[in-house]
C-alpha cells in the first residue's frame, strides 16, 4: 500500500538517526488478524511495519513502561529518543503525558498517521471465527472494509468499527514530527450513544447495571496496564500503608477500584478504548470514562491531550471554576 511504503521510509529515516534508540510500530501478528507491537532498532527491522484498521493497540503505553535498571560498572544510561507510530487518539495520550510532565517533548519522535477508525476485534471474531491463517483487512474509498482470508469479503465499515471510533473527534494526530498520509476531515458518526443510554436510566437502574458488571471483575488490572495514562509508579491500589482498597475480590472492592480509576482519569482519558479492549470479562469501561469526559467538558470546557502547553485540568485552579456543589 502506498501509505505503508511512506511509513516504512519515514521510519527508516528516523531509526537511522544517532539520537534514536528504537521505533515502536505495528507488525503482523502470529495468527489470524492479530497485530503485534514491534520494536525496530535498525532499517532492516522496519521493513515489516504496516498500518491498517486492524492496528488498534495504543503504542504510547511503552515509553512510560521502560524500567530503570541498575547499571553495570562503566555503563551509562541510554537516554536516546524513542520513536512511536501514533494515531489521532494515541498522540493525544502523548500530549497529555507531556502536559503532566511525565515525558519531555524531546524524549519522543512521533510518526503520526491520520486514522479513519479501527475495528472491534470481538465483532471481527464473531464474523470470522476460528481464523488461524494470517488474514488482512483494508479500507476502501466507499466506507467498506475489504477482508482477505482465503476469499475476499466486503463488509460495511459500520458493522465492524470500534465503538469509541464512532464518536472520534480527533482522527488526526495533534502532535507529530512526521505525518504519513493526508489529514482527514472530521468523520464523527455519532455521539457516544452508550453514554446517552446510561443517562436515560434512573439512578437505581444505573446502580444495578454497574453492580452486574463489577461483580464479574477479576481485578486482573489489565485495564490499568493497557492504559497509557495509568503510569503511576505506585498505584493507589497497591499501597499497603495505608491500604485504600482491600485485596479481596468482592463487589465492594471491585466497585471501589473501577470507580476510583475512572475518577483518576477524569480530565485525562483520551478515549483510545484500550481498557475496554483488554478487559477479559467485558466490562464496558468506556461508558464510565466517556460519561466523565462529557461532564468534564460541560463543567470546565476542557478536552484532554490537545495542547502540550496547557496545564492539566485537575492540577490547576481558575477563579471562575464552577462551584455550585460547594455549600
Amino acid at each position: 500500500m502506498a501509505d505503508n511504503r511512506n511509513l516504512i521510509n519515514a521510519a527508516k529515516e528516523i531509526v537511522s538517526r544517532e539520537d534514536v534508540k528504537y521505533i515502536i510500530g505495528y507488525k503482523r501478528g502470529t495468527y489470524g488478524f492479530q497485530i503485534m507491537p514491534a520494536f525496530a532498532y535498525n532499517s532492516k527491522d522496519v521493513e515489516g511495519f504496516i498500518f491498517s484498521p486492524l492496528c488498534a493497540k495504543n503504542l504510547t503505553v511503552y515509553p512510560m513502561l521502560e524500567e530503570k535498571l541498575p547499571l553495570k560498572r562503566g555503563e551509562e544510561e541510554d537516554k536516546r529518543k524513542v520513536g512511536i507510530v501514533v494515531k489521532g487518539c494515541d498522540s493525544r495520550a502523548i500530549a497529555q503525558i507531556i502536559q503532566e510532565k511525565g515525558l519531555k517533548r524531546e524524549d519522543v519522535v512521533l510518526i503520526g498517521i491520520p486514522c479513519r477508525g479501527v475495528i472491534d476485534s470481538k465483532k471481527l471474531e464473531k464474523m470470522f471465527p476460528k481464523q488461524t491463517e494470517l488474514a488482512d483487512l483494508e479500507e476502501d474509498e466507499e466506507g467498506n472494509y475489504i477482508i482477505t482470508t482465503n476469499k475476499t469479503h466486503k463488509v460495511p465499515k459500520t458493522e465492524l468499527i470500534s465503538d469509541v471510533c464512532r464518536s472520534c473527534e480527533y482522527p488526526n494526530p495533534v502532535i507529530y514530527d512526521v505525518l504519513i498520509g493526508e489529514k482527514i476531515e472530521d468523520f464523527k458518526i455519532e455521539n457516544f450513544e452508550r453514554v446517552e443510554n446510561l443517562e436515560n436510566k434512573s439512578l437505581e437502574e444505573r446502580w444495578k447495571y454497574w453492580e452486574n458488571h463489577f461483580e464479574k471483575c477479576i481485578r486482573c488490572y489489565a485495564c490499568r496496564e493497557a492504559c497509557p495514562l495509568c503510569y503511576c509508579k505506585e498505584c493507589m491500589v497497591d499501597l499497603l500503608e495505608p491500604q485504600w482498597v482491600r485485596r479481596s475480590v468482592d463487589l465492594s472492592e471491585n466497585t471501589a477500584w473501577n470507580v476510583m480509576r475512572a475518577f483518576h482519569l477524569a480530565g485525562r482519558c483520551i478515549s483510545c478504548g484500550e481498557c475496554e479492549r483488554a478487559c477479559p470479562v467485558n466490562i464496558p469501561l468506556m461508558e464510565l470514562n466517556k460519561f466523565i469526559e462529557k461532564e468534564v467538558k460541560e463543567m470546565f470546557d476542557y478536552t484532554s491531550g490537545i495542547d502540550t502547553e496547557e496545564k492539566p485540568l485537575l492540577g490547576m485552579f481558575k477563579p471562575d471554576d464552577p462551584e455550585d456543589f460547594v455549600l
Binding site: R219, S248, P280
Partner: protein
Amino acid sequence: MDSLILLKEKLPEMLAEIAAKFTLIGPKEETGFTQFQELDDPSEINLDYLLSRVPPKSLVFQQTETLFTFTKGKEIKVETPKVDSGKRIVFGIRPCDARGYDLLNPVFEGRKEGDYQDLFYVLKRNRSTLIGLSCNEPAVNCFCTSFDDSPASTKHLDLLFTDLGDKFYIDVITKKGEELIENLSKMFSKASEEDLKARNKVEKTSISAITRKMNTEGVTKKLGGMFQHEYWGQVAMRCIGCGICTYLCPTCHCFDIQDESTLKQGGRIRVWDSCMNPEYTHHASGHNPRPSRMNRVRNRVYHKFNFFPRNDGVFGCTGCGRCIDYCPVNIDIINIINDVEEMK
C-alpha cells in the same frame, strides 16, 4: 461400568435431578462470555461454548478464600472457617481444563509424604465430580494435542459426555463417576458398537481440525541452557505486564495472603496474584530479584516448560490457548516454544 447413552432431550431431566440432589455447577452465559457458576436453575446452562473465559480452576482454587478468622480483645481466638461438604457436580468441563486440575494437584496436595496440603483445595477437589464435555470443534488457538492429549480425552475426568448429535455418548471412567450414575434415575441406555464408532469419529474430526502445533521435543533441556539468551529480552519488550495470561491460565496458581480486619475482628484471606506484577517479588529491603519485564516473562515461560517438568515430570501447560487469545500484545507461547526449538 460400560459406556452409556443419554438422549439429548433427557439432558435437562438429568441436570434437574443433579441440581436437586447435589450442587450443580455448569457453564453459564454472561455478557458475551461463558463462566462456570453454581446453577440453581439447570436451564441456565449453556453448552454452546468453546472455552469458558475464566478457567474452572476458580472452583477449587477460589479467587478470594478466607484462611481463618480471628477475634481480638481479652482472649484472641483463631478459627478455620467451615467449608461446605456437600457433593458438587461440575458439568461441561473441557478435557484440557480437567487436565489443569491434575496439574494443580502436586502444588496444593504435596508431592511426597510429609508435604503440606492446602485444606481448602483438598476439600473442594474431593467433593467435586467432574463430568466433561468433549470438544466437537477446537477453538482458534487450541493445541492440547501437542501434550499427548485430545479434545475427547478421558484421562482426567470422572465421566465424559460426547455430543453425537441427538444423543450423548458417556464414558464412565472412575468409581466416582460410576457412583454418580448409580445415584441417578434410570435414564441411560447401553452404548452400542455404532455409538462407539460415532464417538471416535467425533474425536478424530476434532483432532484433525486443530491446526496450531507446539513442538515440545526436548524443550525442557533446551531451555536449561538458554537462561541468559537475549531472546527473552526481545519477547518481553512488548509485554505490558497486564497479567491476563496468569489470571486466565488453568495451571497458574500464584497467590497473595493479606490480613483484613477491623478493631475487634478480622480474617486472613488468600487472593490470586500474578507473577507479572513488578511488586510480586519486591523485598522490603528494596531488592527485587525480577526487576524487569524480561525477568518476569522469562520466569513464566520457564515455570511452565522447565521448572514444573523438572519438579513434577509434566509440562505445566494444558494447551487451552487462552493466554494467546487474550494477550493484548500478541505474545504467543506456541511461537515462543517453537522458536526455542529452532534455535541452535
